[in-house]
C-alpha cells in the first residue's frame, strides 16, 4: 500500500495523463483477469494462447502483446509494449528488478501459504482500481459479493451435501481444491461444505488417487476442466466409477474451464457455473 502511494508520488505523469488510460502489464494470470475485469488498458501479458483456453473469460483484446510462457516471459516484448505500470505477484517476484527497468512495478499477492485467497484477491482488485482510478473495481467486488450471497440463499434449499471440486489429471489421479484454494473459498461463501478435508500443499493442490472418491460417498463431484478427454472417458467407463454412490445418484457436474490459480473473475465464473449447474439439476 505504502509502496503504491510512493510510486504515485514519484510518477505524477501517470495520474496527469488521464485522457489516455495508463498502459498496464502483468505476468500473472490472476492479475491479468483482474485488470481486464476492471477495464484496465492491458498492453502485455503472458501466455495468452493458453489463457484463452484455460481461463476462457474475460476476453483478451487483440491489442495485448503476448509475452510468452509464464516461466520465461520475454522482457524485450514487454519493453516494446511501453507499459506505464506493471503489476507483479509474489510468484514472479524474481522478475521485479528486471521489470523495474521498464516501468514502476507494483506487487500484490493473492496466493500466500496459509492465507485465504479470496480477501487477498479483493484487496488486490481494489488496490488496482484505486491505482488506475477505475471505479469498476469497487462495483465488481460489491456485485460479486452480493451475487455470492444470492447464490447462497438459493443453494440453502439444496440437499446440503458437501461438494468436491476436482481437476482430472489422468484416469487415475485428480487434483483436489481444498479449503485454502480459491474454489474452496467460493464454496465457503456459498454456504457449501468442501468434501475434501485432508491435507493440501500450497494453494490446495495435490495429485490424489482416484480411489479416494469412494471415501466421500455423500459428496457432489464437480469436474473442473481442462482435462484430457481420454482420461475422462477411461474414468467414466470404469466399473469403479459406475459403482460410486455419487455417480449412481447423478451427483456429478462437469463445468467450464477455469484458471485454478485465478482471482475474483475466476471465483465469479466458478460460482456462476455452480449455481447454474445446481439449478439445472433441481429443475430436472
Amino acid at each position: 500500500m505504502l509502496s503504491g502511494a510512493a510510486a504515485c508520488l514519484a510518477m505524477p505523469g501517470l495520474l496527469r495523463a488521464q485522457n489516455t488510460p495508463p498502459r498496464v502489464a502483468t505476468l500473472d494470470w490472476a492479475f491479468l483477469e483482474t485488470l481486464m475485469a476492471i477495464g484496465a488498458n492491458v498492453v502485455a501479458a503472458t501466455e495468452l494462447r493458453q489463457f484463452r483456453q484455460v481461463a476462457v473469460k474475460p476476453d483478451v483484446s487483440a491489442g495485448t502483446a503476448d509475452l510468452g510462457l509464464r516461466g520465461t516471459p520475454n522482457f524485450e516484448v514487454l519493453q516494446f509494449a511501453r507499459p506505464d505500470l506493471i503489476f507483479n505477484s509474489n510468484f514472479y517476484a524474481w522478475a521485479d528488478p528486471l521489470m523495474a527497468l521498464i516501468a514502476p512495478v507494483e506487487s500484490h499477492a493473492i496466493y500466500k501459504p496459509g492465507e485465504s485467497p479470496y480477501p487477498l484477491a479483493e484487496q488486490a482488485m481494489l488496490a488496482m482500481g484505486r491505482r488506475l482510478q477505475l471505479d469498476h473495481a469497487r462495483r465488481f467486488v460489491d456485485e460479486l459479493s452480493g451475487r455470492l450471497d444470492r447464490y447462497k440463499t438459493f443453494l440453502a434449499n439444496g440437499d446440503g451435501r458437501p461438494v468436491l471440486p476436482i481437476n482430472l489429471g489422468d484416469a487415475r489421479h485428480y487434483r483436489v481444491f481444498g479449503s485454502d484454494s480459491m474454489f474452496g473459498e467460493v464454496l465457503k461463501r456459498l454456504g457449501l461444505q468442501n468434501a475434501w478435508q485432508g491435507a493440501t500443499s500450497y494453494s490446495a493442490m495435490a495429485p490424489v488417487g482416484i480411489e479416494t472418491l469412494a471415501s466421500m460417498p455423500d459428496a457432489w463431484i464437480i469436474f473442473i476442466p481442462p482435462h484430457p478427454q481420454d482420461a475422462f472417458d477411461a474414468l467414466t467407463q470404469s466399473a469403479f466409477w459406475k459403482a460410486l454412490p455419487a455417480v449412481r445418484d447423478n451427483r456429478v457436474l462437469t463445468i467450464g474451464s477455469i484458471n485454478p490459480y485465478g482471482a475474483l473473475p475466476a471465483a465469479s465464473r466458478f460460482a456462476d457455473f455452480l449455481a447454474e449447474g445446481f439449478a439445472r439439476v433441481r429443475n430436472g
Binding site: 520475454n74 528486471l98 500443499s201 500450497y202 460417498p217
Partner: protein, 663 residues
C-alpha cells in the same frame, strides 16, 4: 570381446537360497496383510461403507496389487534379458533410456493428438523406447557395446529425452499435469484393464524367454564360442533385445516409469543365489514382482489416508543410485578409452595466432547477439536509444550464457584431462543433477528461495554429489570408468529425488521444471555478476595448473613416476570443476553438453598444449552458449525455447558422431 564372464556378479553362493525366497514371500504377505488391516475406513453408514469398501477392495486395491506383481515381473524379466544380451550388469530400462524414450514419445503423442489410448498408446511407447535404445546402442556400437559407454550414452539420451518432455510439458501449461504423475510411475488402478492388458504380455515374454533359453545360455560365452556352437548371434541378440524393449515399453505405457526395477531384480535374484541363466531368468521376474509389490505396499501404508507417500516408480528409482554404486566394482569396461585413442587430426603451428582469430570471432558473435534481434517492427540491428533500452535485458543473459559456457567448457576440459576419458563431462559425473537435488532441498526448506540461496544450495548439492563420487571411486584410485559409473549412480539418485518433487505438481515443481529446462531468461545483474566473478575466480587458476593437466591423462603410474601427487591434484582440479558446474547449471540448467563438445572442438582445431586447449575450449563454450541463447529467444519469438535444451540438441548429434567414429 573378452572378459565378459567376470562382467557378471559372482557372490558367494548362499547355503539356503530357499531361505531368501521364503523371506521375500513372507515379507510380501506381511506387507499385504498390514495394508489390508491399516487401509482407511470410509465415513458412511455401515451399508454404504461396506459396499464402497468392497468396490475399493476389488476394483482398486486388488488390481493394484496384481499390477505391481505383473509390472515388477515384466521389468525383472526385461532387465535380466537386457543384462544378458548386452553382457552388461547395469543394463535396464532406466539406464538404457527406454523408459525416458517411451515417456517422451507419449508426451509428444499427447501434445499432437489429445486422444491417445489403448493399443496406439502402447505402439507409441514402444516406438519411443526402441528409438532411445537404438540411439544408445548405435552410440556404443563401435566400442563393442562396452558397458561403461552404454551406461553413459543411456544416461545422456535419458536426460535429453526427459528435458524435451519437460519442455513440452511447460509449453502445454496446465494440461500435461497427467504426465508428471504418470511419468513418475504411480500404480493406482480403478479397474482390471491394466492387469488384463499387461498380463498376456508378461506371459508371452516369459514363454519367449523360455524358448530362447539355449541361445541365452550361449550368450554368456564370448561371441566366437557362441558362434561356434551354432547360434545365429546377431539375429538372436536383436530378437531378445526387441522382446525386452517391448516388455519395458508396455509397462511404461500402462503405469509409467518404474525406475531401476530391472536393475534391482536380477541383482536381488543373484543375492538369492541364482547363478545359471535359467535360474536368473526364472528368479529375476519373481524378485522384481516382490520388490515392486513391497515398495507399493509401503508407499500406501506410509501415506496419509488414501494418499500415497510418493509415486511408487519414483520411490523405486531411489534404489537405483545405491544399487549402481553397489554393482560398480563388478562392472568392467572392456574397451577402455583414453585421451591417447583420440586421433590427433592435425597440429597447428601457430596456436597463439589461431587463438587470437578465435577471440576475434568470439567478439563478433558477442556483438551480433547483443545487437541483432526481432522487434515489434520486425528484425533490426539495435542502435542508439533502442540499443540502450534493450541492453539491460540482453547483456545480463548473454554474459550469463557466455560465462556458463566458458565454465562448462573449462570443467569439461578438466574432467576429460583428469579421467583421461574423452566423454567425461559435467553432466556425466552427476554434478549438475546433484546441484538440482540441492535446489530441491532448498525448495522444501525455504518455499521460495532467493537466487543467492538457490545458488548456494546448488553449490552444496553439487559438491556433495561430487564428494560421494570421489569417495566411492576413490578406493580404486579414481579409475576413470569407476568415476564415470559413480557419476551415473549419483545422477540416478538425484533425478529420483527431483522427480518425486516434480510428481507433487505444485508450485515447487514448477520452479524445478523451469530449472531443468534451463533458461537464461531470468538472468539479471546478479546472474551476470555471478557468472563473471566465478569465471575469474575459478577458471583463472586452472591456467596455472598446466603441468598437472598435461601429465594426468597419461595415467596414475606415469603421473606418480613424474612426481605428481595424483590424488591431491585430482581432488583440487575436480573440486574446481564441480563448483564451476554448479554455478553454470544454476545459470543455464543441468543439461547443455557444452562441457563435452567445447574441449573436443578445441582439440579438433589442433590445439595441443593444455593452456591453449583450455583457452580455446572456453572461447568456444562461451560462443556456443551465446549462440544457443540467441537462437532460443528468436526462433519462436516472442515465446522462448530453453537455452540449455537448445545447446543439448546441438551437443547430442555431436556426441553421436563422436562415439560412432572408429576409435
Amino acid at each position: 570381446m573378452s572378459g565378459t564372464a567376470d562382467a557378471f556378479i559372482h557372490l558367494r553362493r548362499p547355503s539356503m537360497p530357499v531361505f531368501y525366497a521364503a523371506a521375500f514371500g513372507a515379507a510380501c504377505v506381511i506387507a499385504f496383510i498390514l495394508l489390508l488391516a491399516l487401509r482407511p475406513h470410509i465415513p458412511a453408514d455401515p451399508a454404504t461403507a461396506e459396499m464402497l469398501d468392497r468396490i475399493l477392495l476389488w476394483n482398486s486395491l486388488a488390481p493394484r496389487a496384481v499390477i505391481a506383481l505383473v509390472a515388477g515381473a515384466a521389468l525383472g524379466l526385461a532387465g535380466a534379458l537386457l543384462q544378458r544380451v548386452l553382457r552388461n550388469p547395469i543394463a535396464d530400462a532406466s539406464t538404457l533410456g527406454i523408459a525416458s524414450g517411451a515417456e517422451l514419445a507419449l508426451t509428444l503423442g499427447l501434445t499432437f493428438s489429445p486422444v491417445l489410448m489403448g493399443a496406439s498408446r502402447e505402439v507409441v511407447a514402444f516406438a519411443g523406447g526402441f528409438a532411445a535404445v537404438a540411439i544408445v546402442l548405435a552410440l556404443s556400437w563401435r566400442r563393442g557395446l562396452d558397458p561403461v559407454t552404454v551406461a553413459i550414452s543411456g544416461m545422456i539420451v535419458s536426460l535429453i529425452a526427459a528435458s524435451l518432455s519437460v519442455t513440452l510439458v511447460l509449453s502445454r501449461g496446465e494440461y500435461a499435469m497427467s504426465i508428471h504423475i504418470w511419468g513418475a510411475g504411480a500404480l493406482s488402478q480403478q479397474d482390471w484393464s491394466g492387469v488384463l492388458s499387461l498380463s498376456p504380455r508378461l506371459l508371452i515374454g516369459a514363454i519367449a524367454a523360455l524358448l530362447l533359453m539355449r541361445p541365452l545360455n550361449m550368450l554368456a560365452l564370448d561371441d566366437s564360442s557362441a558362434r561356434s556352437l551354432g547360434v545365429a548371434l546377431q539375429a538372436t541378440r536383436f530378437g531378445i533385445l526387441l522382446l525386452a524393449v517391448w516388455l519395458s515399453a508396455s509397462v511404461t505405457a500402462t503405469v509409467g516409469i518404474i525406475g531401476f526395477l530391472g536393475l534391482a531384480a536380477p541383482a536381488a535374484a543373484r543375492l538369492c543365489g541364482a547363478r545359471t541363466t535359467g535360474e536368473i531368468m526364472f528368479t529375476a521376474p519373481l524378485t522384481g514382482a516382490a520388490l515392486l509389490f513391497l515398495a507399493d505396499c509401503l508407499t500406501q501404508i506410509l501415506g496419509p489416508g488414501f494418499s500415497d507417500l510418493a509415486p511408487t516408480g519414483a520411490a523405486t528409482a531411489l534404489l537405483g543410485g545405491p544399487l549402481l554404486l553397489a554393482l560398480l566394482p563388478r562392472v568392467h569396461g572392456f574397451s577402455p578409452v583414453t585421451a591417447a585413442s583420440e586421433a590427433i587430426l592435425r597440429q597447428i603451428r601457430k596456436p597463439a595466432t589461431v587463438l587470437i582469430l578465435l577471440a576475434i570471432l568470439f567478439a563478433f558473435a558477442f556483438i551480433a547477439t547483443l545487437v541483432i534481434g526481432p522487434t515489434d517492427h520486425g528484425w533490426s540491428a539495435a542502435t542508439g536509444p533502442l540499443f540502450f533500452d534493450l541492453l539491460p535485458f540482453r547483456l545480463p543473459r548473454i554474459l550469463a550464457a557466455g560465462g556458463a559456457g566458458a565454465m562448462l567448457a573449462a570443467s569439461g576440459f578438466i574432467m576429460q584431462r583428469v579421467t583421461g576419458n574423452p566423454i567425461a563431462s559435467p553432466e556425466v559425473l552427476g554434478v549438475s543433477t546433484g546441484g538440482g537435488a540441492g535446489l530441491t532441498v532448498a525448495l522444501f526448506l525455504f518455499g521460495f528461495p532467493s537466487p543467492p540461496v538457490m545458488l548456494a544450495s546448488m553449490a552444496l548439492g553439487a559438491l556433495a554429489a561430487f564428494m560421494v563420487v570421489i569417495a566411492v571411486s576413490g578406493r580404486a584410485g579414481l579409475v576413470a570408468e569407476r568415476l564415470l559409473l559413480a557419476g551415473i549412480a549419483i545422477t540416478a539418485f538425484s533425478m529420483a529425488i527431483i522427480s518425486m518433487v516434480l510428481a507433487q505438481g505444485d508450485m515447487r515443481s514448477f520452479v524445478l521444471l523451469t530449472w531443468i529446462s534451463g533458461s537464461t531468461n531470468r538472468a539479471g545483474n546478479f546472474e551476470a555478476l555471478t557468472a563473471m566473478i566465478a569465471l575469474v575466480v575459478l577458471a583463472a587458476p586452472v591456467f596455472g595448473m598446466g603441468r598437472w593437466l598435461s601429465i594426468l591423462p597419461l595415467g596414475a603410474t606415469v603421473s606418480k613416476s613424474l612426481g605428481l601427487g595424483v590424488a591431491a591434484s585430482r581432488l583440487l582440479l575436480a573440486t574446481i570443476a564441480a563448483l564451476m558446474t554448479a554455478i553454470a547449471s544454476f545459470l543455464v540448467g543441468p543439461l547443455s553438453l557444452t562441457g563435452l563438445i567445447a574441449p573436443h572442438l578445441a582439440r579438433l582445431i589442433g590445439f595441443q598444449q593444455p593452456r591453449h586447449q583450455l583457452a580455446a575450449a572456453m572461447l568456444i563454450g562461451a560462443g556456443v552458449l551465446m549462440a544457443a541463447d540467441w537462437l532460443s529467444r528468436v526462433i519462436i519469438y516472442p515465446y522462448q525455447v530453453p537455452v540449455g535444451l537448445f545447446a543439448a540438441l546441438i551437443g547430442g548429434p555431436y556426441l553421436l558422431w563422436l562415439l560412432g567414429r572408429k576409435a
